[in-house]
């Protein structure tokens, strides 16, 4: 008897409900039913398909299982709410044995739902995070766009204000007038600095500062930073010392401009709070990280110092140690905040140690890469820059400049800057005019406004570069003039083919310094300005001559490359062909030059080939076709 009970209780003990099919949809429970099944009693026959619609769906499929010797069939999983409000995950199995047809209902462990729940929760949470990230990025982009526009709008009039003050100060003025101009200049520059700081900070904060990774000379970075503050240092009767500890690698890879910016900010800060004594910039290997390229900079002063409780807050935006210092010493306190952000971008940290009344030392660390070659060979010219700038921005004599700007004010300003420099300036009111002038005349430098009607600076520069490629001419320096101060502006400019970028407001010293870097090629002896050569195209040749000329122009680059590779055979072959065809197409000069080049190639005379290739390029650039009507 007790064995029977055990058998009867087995299904319930195994958490299974076992039924035998009585007819179509009616099933009779066998043994005890587990508590999750809300059936009452154990012997009653019931319409299970009515109770579980899922079974109704599976009954037709189960028929196969209830055939004699049919295979057992398992249903899909479904969910039922149990009487207590919880959920059960069920599955039905149909099977037959000894001519009897059975149906077993079983529950699946709750983990089944738990895993799925966790997986879905995780995926939904991830989407939520992505959504917030996207929203934040959009907001940031809007902010950056706004700042870029504002920066342009503010800098353009400032350009005119500061520039005109500069021009005015170079004229004869009474003492009173000079004082007025100086106040105007000083405040203009102050306002510009403030705008730059605010823009810088928002760029860093919105993650829009991308650090460069270029080769740099640590000594040069420090020298150029100290050059910037030199006047203020000597003006206050202070001295400035610089030292790089022995063993510190000086040829590094990093962002020299941002590193210099930090040093200038710290020096500027020190100058502001120091009345007498000395400022020092020192660099040593980071004592806490001995890897090469991990450096610790220290900028120390003998100034008023910072109270201990204010040491941390000096790096916060718009904070100086004491709010009254703002009134006394000026400044926004943004410089240190920007420095902190930049230093952190460079993988380091910044802090200050100070004694009130004795002075402060600002430390910062950076993690830079070290160039493999630390030897001084073949680098000497790089260090000449300071002596060059000491020559006070003298332009190369006879420099020919093409200025493209649609604004009368800007053109007048730049022209007045260039007045008395001996430069010859041609004017273009838009990019299209600039390109046409460029095709006709040789220039040493093109100053190209970026935003112009008809054809903007980007398109015009691309056109100029295309022309140079076609004629095989050396690339001319094309400087972008733009009021957009963002990094994107420079990237875009570089893509268009600009050599460098000058940010408006452009000050006289900046312009002259930029121009002084470039030689006056067109005025060099032996390279006279290219005269225009007009060649009449014979009737019937109109369709072939331009193509012939374009091919010869394209060949100039091949000559140069072959010369660089020492591939004289290629030069000989090209020259031979030109010799044979030039006159036939109406260009006897090409035949002559081809003959000279061919001979030079046979002699392997690189000097002669170079000269003649230049001559060829010059001729091809100067040729203008005229068609007989």
């Amino acid at each position: 008897m007790s064995d029977d009970r055990a058998i009867r209780d087995l299904p319930a003990a195994l958490d299974l409900a076992v039924f035998e099919r009585v007819s179509d949809r009616v099933f009779k429970p066998l043994g005890l039913l587990p508590p999750w099944l809300k059936l009452t009693g154990s012997a009653e026959e019931t319409d299970l398909a009515d109770q579980f619609p899922m079974l109704e769906f599976f009954l037709p499929e189960f028929e196969a299982a209830w055939e004699p010797c049919g295979p057992s069939i398992t249903s899909d999983v479904w969910t039922e709410t149990d009487p207590r409000g919880g959920e059960q995950y069920l599955q039905a199995v149909a099977a037959s044995a000894g001519g009897r047809r059975f149906l077993v209902l079983k529950t699946l462990p709750p983990e089944r739902g738990k895993y799925q729940q966790e997986s879905h929760d995780f995926q939904l949470a991830k989407l939520e995070v992505e959504r917030y990230k996207l929203a934040a990025e959009r907001a940031n982009q809007a902010k950056t766009d706004f700042l870029a526009t504002m920066s342009h709008e503010i800098r353009t009039p400032l350009n005119a204000i500061i520039g005109m003050a500069d021009v005015l100060s170079a004229t004869e003025l009474t003492q009173e007038q000079r004082r007025c101009v100086e106040v105007s200049q000083r405040n203009g520059v102050g306002l510009l600095t403030l705008i730059n700081d605010i823009l810088d900070l928002s760029k860093v904060e919105s993650g829009h500062v991308e650090l460069e990774a270029t080769e740099m000379d640590l000594r040069e970075v420090i020298d150029r930073a100290s050059d910037v503050v030199e006047q203020r240092v000597t003006g206050k009767g202070l001295t400035l010392g610089k030292a790089i500890a022995p063993g510190v690698p000086v040829y590094l890879i990093g962002d020299p401009n941002r590193l210099r910016q930090v040093i200038i900010n710290l020096l500027g800060n020190s100058i502001k709070f120091t009345e007498k004594g000395e400022l020092r910039v020192t660099v040593e290997t980071d004592p806490e990280d001995a890897r090469p390229g991990c450096l610790r900079f220290a900028v120390s002063d003998t100034g008023i110092g910072i109270p201990p409780d204010k040491l941390d807050s000096v790096f916060e935006s718009f904070t100086q140690a004491d709010s009254s210092t703002t009134r006394k010493y000026g400044g926004t306190g943004l410089g240190l905040t920007i420095s902190k952000q930049l230093v952190e971008l460079m993988g380091g940290r910044i802090w200050v140690e100070s004694t009130v009344g004795t002075g402060s030392t600002f430390f910062f660390t950076v993690k830079l890469s070290v160039q493999q070659d630390q030897s001084e060979r073949s680098r000497a010219p790089a260090r000449d820059e300071k002596s060059a700038s000491a020559e006070q921005n003298r332009l190369a004599p006879g420099m020919r400049i093409l200025l493209a700007d649609d604004s009368d004010d800007n053109r007048f300003l730049i022209l007045s800057y260039l007045n008395k420099t001996g430069a010859a300036v041609d004017i273009a009111e838009d990019g299209d005019v600039a390109v046409r002038l460029f095709r006709r005349n040789p220039y040493d430098v093109v100053l190209m406004d970026v935003e112009m009607p008809v054809m903007d600076g980007h398109a015009a520069t691309r056109e100029i570069r295309r022309f140079e490629r076609e004629t095989g001419a050396e690339p001319t320096t094309v400087l972008a003039l733009t009021a957009h101060a963002f990094l994107d502006a420079w990237e875009k400019a570089r893509e268009s083919g600009f050599t460098d970028l000058l940010t408006k407001p452009i000050r006289k010293t900046d312009l002259l310094e930029a121009l002084s870097k470039y030689p006056a090629r067109s005025a060099q002896p032996g390279a006279p300005a290219i005269p225009r050569v007009t060649v009449m195209v014979e009737a019937g040749m109109e369709d072939v001559v331009p193509g012939y000329l374009a091919k010869r122009r394209a060949e100039v680059a091949v000559y140069r490359q072959a010369l660089a590779d020492g591939n004289f055979e290629t030069i000989r072959m090209l020259a031979h062909k030109t010799k044979g065809t030039g006159a036939g197409y109406g260009f006897p000069v090409l035949t002559e030059l081809g003959a000279v080049l061919e001979k030079a190639a046979q002699r392997r005379d690189a000097g002669e080939i170079r000269t003649r290739t230049d001559e060829l390029a010059g001729y091809l650039a100067s040729v203008e076709l005229e068609y007989t009507k």
Binding site: P53, M54, D76, V77, W78, T79, L108, S119, Q123, R131
Partner: protein, 174 residues
């Protein structure tokens, strides 16, 4: 009384279970609760002067490694495709499911429900997407299981279409 088997299909987390809870029990919970397998509910409703029992099959949402079990659509009368307006990927899933249903099961009455209209300001699917689908003849309803907006209407509209289709088929038989 006619029985209509209505399946809810769509990506996981779009609110299928919530729509059923709103429709069957006038209930709503903010807490996300995943559906294991399928959960079947029923509700009697009167449509076009006719009483019908809606057997609502709330099917587990589709996810990358678990496509919906289309086998369960056998003998279904129609289906509701549910999209979460705040997740554009759920529209792609809905389109893909509709495509598979049409290929594997055949044409059936269906509606597209763009759920979570209460969160309209954070919808990321552009209106043009709906216009495209409407142009293809899809009926689209913006629903909110949270507020109940258009939920009852969605089930009623589909049921009405199912019954109409049946009447049309019967007329054709005669």
């Amino acid at each position: 009384m006619s029985k209509c088997k209505i399946c809810l299909l769509g990506s996981f987390g779009v609110g299928k279970t919530s729509l059923v809870a709103r429709f069957v029990r006038s209930d709503f919970s903010d807490k996300y609760h995943t559906t294991v397998g399928v959960k079947i509910d029923k509700k009697t409703l009167a449509v076009d002067g006719e009483e019908a029992i809606a057997m609502v099959w709330d099917m587990a949402g589709e996810e990358d490694n678990a496509p919906v079990n289309l086998k369960q659509l056998r003998d279904a009368s129609g289906y509701l495709l549910v999209v979460d307006g705040t997740r554009s990927s759920t529209l792609d899933v809905a389109r893909s499911i509709q495509d598979r249903v049409e290929t594997e099961i055949g044409k059936q009455p269906f509606l597209l429900l763009v759920n979570k209209v209460d969160l309209r300001e954070s919808w990321e699917i552009p209106d043009s997407a709906w216009e495209d689908l409407a142009a293809r003849g899809w009926t689209i309803l913006e629903t909110s299981a949270k507020t109940g907006e258009h939920v009852e209407e969605a089930f009623r509209t589909l049921t009405s279409r199912i019954l109409q289709a049946r009447r049309d088929a019967e007329d054709a038989d005669e």
